[in-house]
Amino acid sequence: MSGVREITFVEALNEALLQEMERDPTVIVMGEDVGVYGGIFGVTKGLLDRFGPDRVVDTPISETAFIGAGVGAAAAGLRPVVELMFVDFFGVCMDQIYNQAAKMRYMFGGKIKIPLTVRTTIGGGVSAAAQHSQVLYSIFAHVPGLKVIVPSTPYDAKGLLISAIRDDNPKMFFEHKLLYGVKGPVPKEPYTIPFGTADVKVEGSDVTVVAVAYMVHEAVKAANELKMNGISVEVIDPRTIVPFDKDAVFKSVKKTGRLVVVDEDYERCGFASWVAALVADECFAYLDAPIKRVTTPTVPIPFSPVLEKEILPNAEKIIKAVKEVVK
C-alpha cells in the first residue's frame, strides 16, 4: 500500500475517525470531552474544528444517557462512535450496552440493525489504581450481541476501527493505554481489516502463545527471548475476541501441542479461560502439556507501582509459563 508512514496508535485512530467522518455524513462522535479537549487521550483531536458540534458531541457525565443515545441514534439511522472514557465506568451504563444495543436485533426478530461503535480505554501499568486500570473485555465477550475488538498495533487500530464503523452491529472497541504512544507503519488511505482474522506475529513450532492488545507486545518480547533459549514460540494475536479465529489457534496448537494464553483480564472466568477451554475440548488429542494461562490474578488493581507490577502479566511471566509447558 502506498503512503505508509510511522504514526502512533492515537494518530491512527484519529485518522480512522476523520476519514470515516469525511466519507459518511451519518458518522458522528459522542462522549465526554471529545470536542474542545479532543478526548482525554487525544483520539478525537481536531474533529470538532473539522466537523462542528453537531457531529462531535461533548456530553455531560451521563454515560447511560449518552451511550444509550448512541444506541437510539443508531436505531434511527446514524452510525455513532461513542467514547466511554475508561472501560472501568461500564458499571454505570452497562444496561444500554448489553441489554439494549446488543440484544435489540435478536429480540426484534432480526429486522433491525444497530451500527454503533463504543470506543473505550483499557489496561494497567500507569498506577491508575482499581477503578481506572481494568481490562474487562471478557465481560463484553461473555454477553451475546457485541463484537469485541482488541487491536495491538497502529496498523490494526486504524483498519479495525474503520471496519467497526462500517459494520452494522454493536461493537466494543478496546484501546490499551500503553499502546496509545506506540508507533508503527500505517497507510494513509482508508483500509479495513476483516474481523475474526488472527495475525500470526511470530511463527514457531514448540508452543502456541495467544495474546491480545498490549499483551501481544509482551508475548513477542517473550518469544524473542525464548528463541535464544532454543524454544520456538508461535505468537498469535486474534485481534478480535468476537468473532474469534478459532481455526488459527487450533491450527497452531495442532502443530505445537502446547498452549499458553496471555490475557491482562482477571484470571477467573475470563478470556484466557475460554481459549483454554476451547482447546481442551477441541484439540485434546493434540495436547502434549497442561494449558497455562498468564493473567492478572483476580484482585483489584493496586495503586502502588510495586504491587501493580507484581500482578500484571508481562514477558517474564510468559517466559516462565512457556518454560513450564516445554520442560
Binding site: 451521563s62 447511560t64 437510539g72 444496561d95 426478530g109
Partner: protein, 329 residues
C-alpha cells in the same frame, strides 16, 4: 380541529387496545400465553392521545407495558398476538415476546424489559432527528416508577441541554408495582417519588404540564403543544398523565397493595366511556357507529388470535440466527 374521521380513528384505536388487552388477560389465564405480560387496559387515552400527533419518520420508545403504544402506532395486531404466543409469524418472529415488541418500520423502537431504558434511546433518536432535520419528533413513554431511574433523569438533562425534539410522556398509573407514585400525606412510607415529576421536569429546563390521562382529548391537546414545540426546534416537553391500570402489575399479580374499591373508583372514570360520552354529546358519533367500531375491534382481535393459534412455532435452529447481521453460529 379534530375531524370526525380522526376522532373515530382515535376511538377505534382505544377500543382495539382494550379488546386486545382483555383478550390477552383471558388467554394468559387459560395458559395460552407464556412469560411476563403487563397489560395497558385503563391507560388507552395516553397512548392514543399522544400518538395521534405522530407522522411517518417520528419515533416512540416504550416500556414493559407496551401493547397500547404498539397498537396506537399501528403495529399489526396479528403479528403482535402471534408474538405473544411465541410464533414464527410474530412481529419479532417469536424471539421477543410481550416485553420486546418493536417495529421500526412504523417508528416503534421497542417495548423494553428494563424500566427507564427507553429514555436514552429516545434521546438518541431525537439527536438523529435533529441532525437530519425535517421536524421529526420522538415520544418517550415511561411510567411513574421509571422516573426515579437514573437513565430517565440523565435523559431529561441531556434532552434539555441539546434542545431535542422529545416529548416525555409520564404514564402515572399511581403505582410502580406496589409503590405509590406520590403520597398525599407526608408519612406515606411506600412512596417512590418525593415531588411531582412535572415540577422536576421544569427544574431540568423542560416545560411540563399535568394532564388528565383518562381524557383522551385532554391528552391530545397537551400533546399537541408539546409535539409542535419539538417540530419547531424549541426543545423537549414533559406531560405528566394521571391514569390507572385495571389489571395487576403483571398477569398473575395478587394485588395485595390496593383495594377493589380503589379499582372500581377509577373504572368509573374509564377513558373509553368518557370519550364515548363526549363523542355522543357532541354529535360526532352515534351509539350505532361506536358499537360497530367496538365489534370491529373485537373481530380484529379474534382474527389475531386465530392467526396466532394457526401459526407455526419457529424452527429450533432460528434460536441461533439474528444475533448479528452476518453469520454467527
Amino acid at each position: 380541529m379534530l375531524t370526525q374521521d380522526k376522532l373515530l380513528d382515535m376511538y377505534y384505536r382505544m377500543v382495539l387496545i382494550r379488546a386486545f388487552e382483555d383478550r390477552v388477560h383471558e388467554l394468559f389465564t387459560q395458559g395460552k400465553i407464556p412469560g411476563f405480560v403487563h397489560l395497558y387496559a385503563g391507560e388507552e387515552a395516553v397512548a392514543v392521545g399522544v400518538i395521534s400527533h405522530l407522522r411517518r419518520g417520528d419515533y416512540i420508545t416504550s416500556t414493559h407495558r407496551g401493547h397500547g403504544h404498539c397498537i396506537a402506532m399501528g403495529v399489526d395486531v396479528k403479528g403482535m398476538m402471534a408474538e405473544l404466543y411465541g410464533k414464527k409469524t410474530g412481529t419479532c418472529r417469536g424471539k421477543g415476546g410481550s416485553m420486546h415488541i418493536a417495529d421500526f418500520e412504523v417508528g416503534m423502537l421497542g417495548a423494553n424489559g428494563i424500566v427507564g431504558a427507553g429514555g436514552p434511546l429516545a434521546v438518541g433518536a431525537a439527536l438523529a432527528a435533529k441532525y437530519k432535520g425535517g421536524g421529526g419528533v420522538v415520544v418517550c413513554f415511561a411510567g411513574d416508577g421509571a422516573q426515579n431511574q437514573g437513565a430517565v433523569l440523565e435523559s431529561l438533562n441531556a434532552a434539555a441541554i441539546w434542545k431535542l425534539p422529545i416529548v416525555f410522556v409520564v404514564e402515572d398509573n399511581q403505582y410502580a408495582i406496589s409503590l405509590r407514585s406520590l403520597s398525599s400525606t407526608k408519612l406515606q412510607p411506600r412512596v417512590s417519588t418525593a415531588r411531582s415529576v412535572a415540577e422536576r421536569a421544569v427544574a431540568f429546563g423542560i416545560p411540563s404540564v399535568t394532564v388528565d390521562g383518562m381524557d383522551v382529548l385532554a391528552v391530545y391537546e397537551a400533546a399537541k403543544a408539546a409535539v409542535e414545540r419539538g417540530r419547531a426546534g424549541e426543545g423537549p416537553s414533559l406531560l405528566d398523565c394521571k391514569t390507572y391500570r385495571y389489571y395487576g402489575h403483571f398477569e398473575g399479580d395478587p394485588m395485595v397493595y390496593r383495594s377493589v374499591e380503589e379499582i372500581d373508583e377509577w373504572r368509573k372514570k374509564d377513558p373509553i366511556k368518557l370519550f364515548e360520552e363526549k363523542l355522543l354529546k357532541s354529535g360526532i358519533a352515534t351509539q350505532a357507529i361506536l358499537s360497530d367500531l367496538r365489534r370491529k375491534a373485537a373481530l380484529e382481535v379474534d382474527e389475531a388470535v386465530k392467526f396466532a393459534e394457526g401459526s407455526p412455532y419457529p424452527e429450533p435452529s432460528e434460536a441461533y440466527t439474528d444475533v448479528f447481521t452476518d453469520p454467527y453460529y
